[in-house]
Symmetry: C2
Subunit: 667 residues, 2 copies
Amino acid sequence: MFQFSESKEGLEVYFENHLILNHRFDEPCFYVGKGDETISAYRGNYAIEDYISFRMPLRDYELVDEESVVFHNHDYRLTCKFSIQDERLVVYFDINKPTNRFWLRLYANRMEKVYGCGIQASYFNLRGKNFPLWTSEPGVGRDKSSLTTFYADLYDKAGGDYYNTYYPETTFISTRKYWVHVDSSAYADFNFKHPKFHELHFWDIPKKIVLEYQKDYLRLIERLTDYTGRPPKLPDFVHDGMILGVQGGTKQVLEYLAKAEEVGVKVNGLWIQDWAGYRFTSFGKRLYWNWVWNSDVYPNLRETIETMKTKNVHFLTYICPFLLQNETLFNEAKALNYLVLNQEGTTYIEDFGEFFCGLVDLTNPEAFNWYKNVIRKNLIGLGVGGWMADFGEYLPVDAVLHNGIDAKLMHNRWPVLWAQCNYEAVKESGKLGEVVYFMRAGGHGSQRYATSLWAGDQSVNWETHDGIPSVIPASLSAGIIGNPFIHSDIGGYTSLHGNIRSKELFGRWVEMSVFSAYMRTHEGNRPSENFQFYHAKDTMTVMARMSALRVALKPYIQEIVSQASEKGYPLQRPLFMHYLNDDSVYDLQYEYLFGPDIYVKPVVKPNVSEQTVYLPDDEWIHLFTNESYSQGTFTVKAPIGYPPVFYRKSSKFAKLFEDITKNFALK
Amino acid sequence: MFQFSESKEGLEVYFENHLILNHRFDEPCFYVGKGDETISAYRGNYAIEDYISFRMPLRDYELVDEESVVFHNHDYRLTCKFSIQDERLVVYFDINKPTNRFWLRLYANRMEKVYGCGIQASYFNLRGKNFPLWTSEPGVGRDKSSLTTFYADLYDKAGGDYYNTYYPETTFISTRKYWVHVDSSAYADFNFKHPKFHELHFWDIPKKIVLEYQKDYLRLIERLTDYTGRPPKLPDFVHDGMILGVQGGTKQVLEYLAKAEEVGVKVNGLWIQDWAGYRFTSFGKRLYWNWVWNSDVYPNLRETIETMKTKNVHFLTYICPFLLQNETLFNEAKALNYLVLNQEGTTYIEDFGEFFCGLVDLTNPEAFNWYKNVIRKNLIGLGVGGWMADFGEYLPVDAVLHNGIDAKLMHNRWPVLWAQCNYEAVKESGKLGEVVYFMRAGGHGSQRYATSLWAGDQSVNWETHDGIPSVIPASLSAGIIGNPFIHSDIGGYTSLHGNIRSKELFGRWVEMSVFSAYMRTHEGNRPSENFQFYHAKDTMTVMARMSALRVALKPYIQEIVSQASEKGYPLQRPLFMHYLNDDSVYDLQYEYLFGPDIYVKPVVKPNVSEQTVYLPDDEWIHLFTNESYSQGTFTVKAPIGYPPVFYRKSSKFAKLFEDITKNFALK
């Protein structure tokens, strides 16, 4: 199924008659080299520089046998062993001498577009740019022409750029209808700028590359997630309304619940991130990082959880892999030698801004099990329905790990280890499909080990690269490589450098979240300075309407959640996934299909009461007006509570949608 | 005098027993490749991207004969022909097939520092950074952490960075005591980050490299300027006080003169940049770019010039290579086919912000001569003592030139052609040494053709990278490669994005300018919004004192100006030039020697009344207090009008300095 074709210009490699490698003597497919990197870390933000002191094109080749080609130049010899495994092309790489930089060029054509590489919040179609792949804080503003980013850079080295992400991955799909994964956890940089090839760069020699063609995108994702694994189904309760992110103690959160329910909000959960206590720093309200129920702040929590569960209101909490210095979990882990060490062989202490932490060494199987049991006992044992499994991006590059592997090579694997630790805790408790945790950090393997994702800490504003709009490309790019369940903090999170959340922003975010994995609000990093739903009855009215819509959609959502778990199809899908022949949809990144039958274009701009949408070729019904549309560009009314949503007239859920239209009509 | 030494690791090339090239098979000295550049220009600011699609290390070599080595890899063969010419090593390069990217690695050691590469306003010692070499606007703020730069980038793509410069040059000196010049006008990037080599990158194959060792820095500069040429002496009149940059018509400028002289300012010139008229745009006051005396604005100018010359007050004007569209000079040049063309073969029109211009094609000998005669007739013929020969950085990369050479290769040569045009106009008028023009744009050859430089358009503030401090490294780096005469706009120029010039800034700038090629004020781009000397008697008092100091120093200045013209020694010299054995002075860039006997550390910070200085090993006398100092760090008083200046007690001008101390004492 793969073929080598030689000419005087070089060697072409085909897989299922598609050109994969176009190796020419004057433009070789492989380079090896040496680099000396400088990595400066500051609270999860990495300034990375590389000096390439040597770079050698592997210009020549030898066909060793029917499966192997050696690309070489002088004493550098890279053996590529081609094989077919389960209909996929798998190429193993082996280099004859140590080298720490590697470039691979996959054949590309000028019209091709590519998607994926993890959570990408700025650009869904990656063509025309390069994407360094290194898990980190994604940046505040993520746009060098934004004042938010300017100040974040100036004060905290934290402004970020379009490519910074919690979840980078060396996996993408192409409109030439293949998916590809490169097996390397080293720092990588995927460059999609060249018209004739994709240049994939790594700070090691990848073990292998896996590539598969399929006839359409649904099948591609199914096959990709056959390879990566898929998460269990979401628990049913998450569809029964919305989760309120509230804090401040048992009494306080029940008061918020009562207030919301009084206005008719359908509440299925309370996310109490401060279950272990809290503190205030100059950044804002911060949690107390010792992951033990704080019965001072939350008296009677265990009983309350059980009582509320009978009313289908689930409690959710919070955990991360860091432990607050000199507190009980830290002390226990330190005594057991379970914490990551520094170069001096003592505990690696990370500064989080006015508090300090150690990091559980997840490469040590005993430490991994110990922490898994912390999750089982302290979280699952408390009866919670889920939690935020935060962080995972911060493994310091100079850390010393139990498994002896260079921390620079473990850095991108760390989020997956962290996901796996949560996964096994839930699985071994027999709770897969009942308990859901949500992660922002990720890597190859998150598809299997993260029960869901959230899109991270957006700024509480309308900015393209880090405000409400950025959630959509982030969700689509996570989904396209096999993470079907993703949602976001309703209202956003980061309120810094003059950005203060408005009621309007919060309302638009509520709307959008109906059409994501689940709905969950967040008070943000500075709750008292920002808009909160419990201060505004009219906002709670919107929440009541939107949570009721979510409940009304439940039969449809259950179906697409099942599909996601069985086949890997994301809940949020780019239009091209179902409308392959429409050239105009491949660069749309602020609208999507929610399952096969619902089209959504969330309002992510301020001060608008209508929105223009492009509908692909189908018969569409506006969910709130019952008006019919066919292919074309239309402007529809979109006051808050009535986002532009359309369903396919031929959907097998058409009756369900008709009923919704009756009950939720825009008058 | 050069030697090749072979080992199993590679080839070493020595010149006068110094290692020059350390070619190792695993770290070759030469790479060739292919790149596809994207150059976006906006009013002299260039966004440059390069995609290296091929890069080949020339790993192997053959010693062809005693003078030639071929470095090669497969079909790429670079012939290096080594020769000694006038005690210098000259290596000619010849490649066997077309290639548009070239990398050369000169041997370096870890302790080495390098200086030069043209006007460098941020860093004098270039080691540890890379310096793209491409003439352009240098940027407003030039510092991505400055709000000035943020807004300049946002509104005008004009923020710049540490390396942006009007005057880039592929020439530097090393503390290993060599100077080197690479003969290429292509885009280049000199990377001084690596501990073991300097990597010099070019977008063509340079013709040759020239390198010379000497025993000390004075001898190095003398020999370097033997190679580059040197400017004529400055006219004597520039030492007789200060030039006032004033505008607004004959009557107006004579009033300013009278006002200044009344307070005792010694005025040797009036620089009237608006001699051809002016207009207002949103940027500020702009000149009328038709280089013809405007007798409406300046009635009786010719007579006034002659009259004032008898009082040793010289008039200076302004010119640049652009001609205002549809005006007389433009129309004449266009009719003669003397203007640069665009790809369509019609006149290339540049947008300067609310007005448009054509560009004289200086590669056309007839156009060159025509414009030379414009200078001779319209400027020299008017009787002026000099002018600002502005611009030179803007040759568009898509221009079509008379000489048929790619504009990308002419871009860096353009400023030198422009300098040469001015030079020949003056020379052919028999006025070398009598008339002085000042340029900001430059390149290899400016040493000979620019009678003087000025440091460009600083921001009217105290910022490191573009405010008053930046003048000092800019002057030192220009000087170290053979441009001995440089000065700056007193008070700075660019008032944008909230920067408004203060009286204090102006005062400090007056002080500093005493110790530069000459003193000249500027009203800036927005005269009415910024501080002007003629509004403040106390500032004119400082100017009176400082211009008198300048006059008092004249015998000493005449001596160092003669040295400059005969040997290339810069007026402003880094401390290491005379104190070679003091390791602590090699990174000092905000203090300098003015000639061999005066030490100056200008005050470039606001709100200070004293300043700390480091004096190298010598006997020093404070010029205004008569206090003696030897080597060490001292804090001295420095109110405005009394900058920290010391002279060497053993100077042959000691008597002159003693007299100055008596007359200019700080009481």
